[in-house]
Amino acid sequence: MQLYLPIAEVSVNIFVLLGIGGVVGLLSGMFGVGGGFLITPLLLFIGVPAPVAVATGANQVVASSVSGVLAHVQRRTVDFRMGAVLLAGGVVGSGGGIWLFDMLRRAGQVELLVQLSYVAFLGAIGALMFQESLRALIRSRRPGEPPQRRTRHGVGTGLPLKLRFRASGLYISVLPPLAIGAAVGFLAAIMGVGGGFILVPAMIYLLGMPTKVVVGTSLFQIIFVTAFTTLMHAVTAQSVDMLLAVVLILGGVIGAQIGTGIGLRLKAEQLRILLAVLVLAVAGRIGLDLILAPDELYSLAPGRLP
């Protein structure tokens, strides 16, 4: 059954869209990530124009993050104060990202920007995650060794403007979280992702937040950053396709349900290694497109009817 998307102005099979939403929901249920990093490339692959793919991807992440954060609020694993500080930085970063995105869209380089940021960030995060989880997996096979202890010394203990973050048990400067928030907001705008895959490691390793509050707080901040991004894209470029978003969300909801079930049956190290492989595969696929000579050198950007 075909569905005509009013903003993307392409007709796509509704089951393909539900499948994409479902696969992404499955992964977000399994790994606890938003899945935005998969949605944008998959939408590009089925012929949705890049601006629409990025903007609608952000809209879909809003839905999955709202769903996720509610579970964390119940378990009291959201540091609202930290979330608010990250968010303040995030709005600034997102605004900057939107501005750059719009400028490059006019110059015809937006595909390049999206592709390069995917290769760079997914490649780096995927490689780090793969290495780290491989080491953890090997360690778990040798039960004699004691697990390594991470020292809880985040950056921002020596900087001014200190603030107490009770839920995280931290007393640090607001500057590092502001900067991290801004960086994630920027990426959200240009990649159509929530940025959880960057925010989560940054909160653990850079800020030294306890792992139990990290996912909830990251989801909390992602809701608002992606909401702001969606709104900005809708206003500056009219590139949010509501019908596309609704079908993706519908598929995602069903997928997340199944994914959570699978995730509970796998070990944490196995899960992380799978996620790392997936992230690297997406980065590799996009990277190949940049390096290999394309079949068609020309591309067409339709102008708006007067």
């Binding site: 005509y4 009013p6 769903s67 509610l70 579970a71 015809g108 009219q238 020309y298 339709p302």
Partner: protein
């Protein structure tokens, strides 16, 4: 349909020895949520006051979507990766263009007539504009035609017109799913020996309807309200999903 045509034939009184009358199976195409393309039939007949002169008569049918500007970009290798380098702005290119004929275009249509009526696809594209590198400008318009042909929005069907007894004609034109809204121009040309004997022009209105129309209008006329609505739907869906999971697990 035949009776209506006959009536029309009787009523129409065109000047000249040979004249064309034509009609369409529909003059309105609605793009709805499950729109998957449409087929229109162009039919017509040749009206003669006198016996036809020597030489075969041919028919050319064109269906042309509303023109819009477009930018064609060419990738080039820079620092080891393929990036968009040169670009050419096309001032106006039809968003859809289908040609159906009774025979090979270069045999049934002379170059002068083609220039005058802008019948073939390259003629329909007004490529005049600020060119980034005018040297290989034709390569960019060729690429535009190639890409749009691959998309199914440009097409030439030589032999796609059924022309019975050099009097009754019929052409089936397929409109693909990726259509642009607007007024589509339908032209029917009668040619003899490369010269256009008579031609007629009519139109089809293509427009989004129902939810498609509503969403598109809202997105472009009230972008802020549209953005807020998108977010409200996403937030509501997220909340509903979470509530449903809880109920599911609780049960």
């Amino acid at each position: 349909m035949i009776r209506a045509l006959a009536l029309w034939l009787a009523l129409a009184a065109p000047a000249g020895a040979e004249a064309i009358v034509a009609g369409l199976s529909q003059n309105r195409v609605a793009i709805t949520a499950n729109f998957d393309g449409s087929e229109i039939i162009v039919y017509g007949a040749v009206r003669r006051d006198a016996p036809p002169p020597d030489g075969p008569m041919d028919v050319i049918v064109t269906v042309e979507g509303p023109p819009a500007p477009a930018t064609v970009r060419r990738k080039d290798r820079r620092w080891g990766i393929w990036v968009n380098a040169a670009q050419v702005r096309i001032r106006a290119a039809p968003t859809f263009y289908a040609i159906a004929t009774t025979g090979p275009l270069d045999e049934i249509l002379s170059e002068t007539e083609n220039l005058r009526h802008r019948i073939t696809i390259p003629q329909a594209i007004r490529a005049v504009g600020a060119a980034a590198d005018a040297a290989d400008f034709p390569a960019f318009t060729e690429a535009l035609i190639r890409l749009r042909t691959a998309d199914g929005v440009y097409g030439v069907a030589e032999g796609g017109v059924a022309f019975a007894e050099e009097t009754l004609l019929r052409a089936d034109v397929t409109l693909p799913a990726n259509l642009t809204e607007g007024r589509f121009r339908v032209r029917v040309f009668l040619t003899r020996g490369g010269a256009v004997v008579d031609h007629i022009e009519t139109g089809i209105t293509v427009e989004k309807q129902g939810i498609e129309r509503w969403l598109h209008r809202l997105a472009f006329r009230h972008p802020l309200a549209y953005g807020v609505l998108s977010l409200a739907i996403a937030a509501a869906a997220g909340w509903a999903a979470s509530a449903a999971f809880r109920a599911f697990r609780g049960a």
